[in-house]
């Protein structure tokens, strides 16, 4: 048994997330990963934008910041820049981070600033009634795509890799042990890290896509989120419609706040 009560603001429970929403499963994985990584809660800041996932900081007993839509990463950048000793965790969703906040995401990755972005991908705008997000799969139904989405979705992890993130992983809430492990690795990484966490939205996504029960969506994740080792042995045909999970990118490169500090030191000392 893990004592979650040590980490949460119990007075805010039960949380607002719908029955079977995966956001609570992710939150628990985050708390276990934080404990395992041994980081101090006093030196940890959790920043979120707007959306279902962005309600997360309201439930944790640490330094938290609930900001404006799409702008969690800019606020987090400011926090990290102001005090580079802090561990800065961004909680965001597919709508928050890849639509309105898309530019912030790619530029934080390019800059390689040491923040950890935990992106809950539930394939839909859940809070506002199930509109298509940039990650809604082609053919899936949404409030704004009642006959099926004709757009191709973003590969969010691929986007972060292309933009220069030093650590990128994908996880899902069915394989919850891997989810915790990926979050712990991201927390430990010096540099911009992103974990795309696949999580079910029964209310806005499942109901429109013949997976109305939370169990159906968990089964969908079980059958379609594929660990990297198995993924490598699959044919192109088998991979279609499925998602690779595990570490997708892990590279060391100069980190932004460290480089900034070096520049300031060199200008001050003339060396």
């Amino acid at each position: 048994m893990f004592n979650y009560l040590e980490y949460i603001r119990e007075k805010n429970f039960p949380h607002i997330w719908c029955a079977g929403c995966g956001d609570g499963i992710v939150l628990k994985a985050i708390l276990r990963a934080i404990e395992k990584s041994g980081i101090s809660l006093d030196e940890t800041v959790m920043v979120s934008g707007i959306g279902c996932s962005s309600r997360t900081p309201g439930y944790v007993d640490m330094n938290t910041l609930h900001t404006t839509h799409g702008r969690a990463i800019p606020f987090a950048t400011g926090v990290k820049h102001g005090n580079p000793k802090l561990n800065v965790i961004v909680i965001t969703g597919d709508g928050d981070a890849t639509a309105i906040g898309g530019n912030h995401l790619i530029h934080a990755a390019r800059r390689n600033i040491d923040i950890t972005v935990l992106l809950y991908n539930n394939y839909i705008y859940g809070m506002t009634g199930g509109q298509c997000s940039p990650t809604t799969p082609t053919g899936s139904r949404a409030a704004t795509a009642p006959f099926g989405n004709i757009e191709p979705p973003f590969n969010t992890s691929g986007l972060a890799i292309a933009a220069g993130a030093s650590f990128v992983a994908r996880a899902d809430v069915y394989n919850v042990a891997n989810c915790e492990k990926m979050i712990a690795m991201a927390l430990a990484k010096k540099g911009f890290s992103l974990v795309e966490i696949l999580t079910p939205c029964p209310t806005a996504f499942g109901r429109r896509n013949k997976m109305a029960s939370p169990v159906k969506l968990m089964e969908w994740l079980r059958d379609n989120a594929v660990p990297a080792a198995k993924w490598k042995k699959m044919t192109e045909e088998e991979r279609r419609g499925r998602m690779e999970t595990g570490v997708l990118m892990d590279v060391d490169k100069p980190e932004y706040t460290a480089e900034y500090e070096k520049l300031v030191t060199s200008l001050r000392t003339g060396k």
Binding site: M1, F2, Y4, I8, F13, P14, H15, W17, C18, A19, G20, C21, G22, D23, G24, I25, K28, A29, V173, Y174, V176, A177, P202, S213, P214, V215, M218
Partner: protein
């Protein structure tokens, strides 16, 4: 060592906080030993003696409602 073994064989204590349980059924569906059932829209411990303490119900409960000891 002997003590550790006897500790691991202790029957599981599964607690469900009904005020927080939203009845999503994830714990019931994925319990490998069918320890849990649904009753009145909430999870209920039916066969605690069969529990192997795999912890999957606790880990996957979105509502912080299940603990296994």
């Amino acid at each position: 060592m002997a003590e550790e073994q006897s500790a691991s064989k202790k029957p599981a204590v599964i607690r469900i906080k009904l005020e927080w349980c939203k009845g999503c059924e994830i714990c019931v569906a994925f319990c490998p030993k069918k320890v849990l059932v649904m009753e009145g829209g909430k999870a209920k411990v039916e066969n605690p003696g069969d529990c192997i303490k795999c912890m999957l119900c606790e880990l996957r409960c979105p509502d912080f409602a299940i603990t296994v000891e």
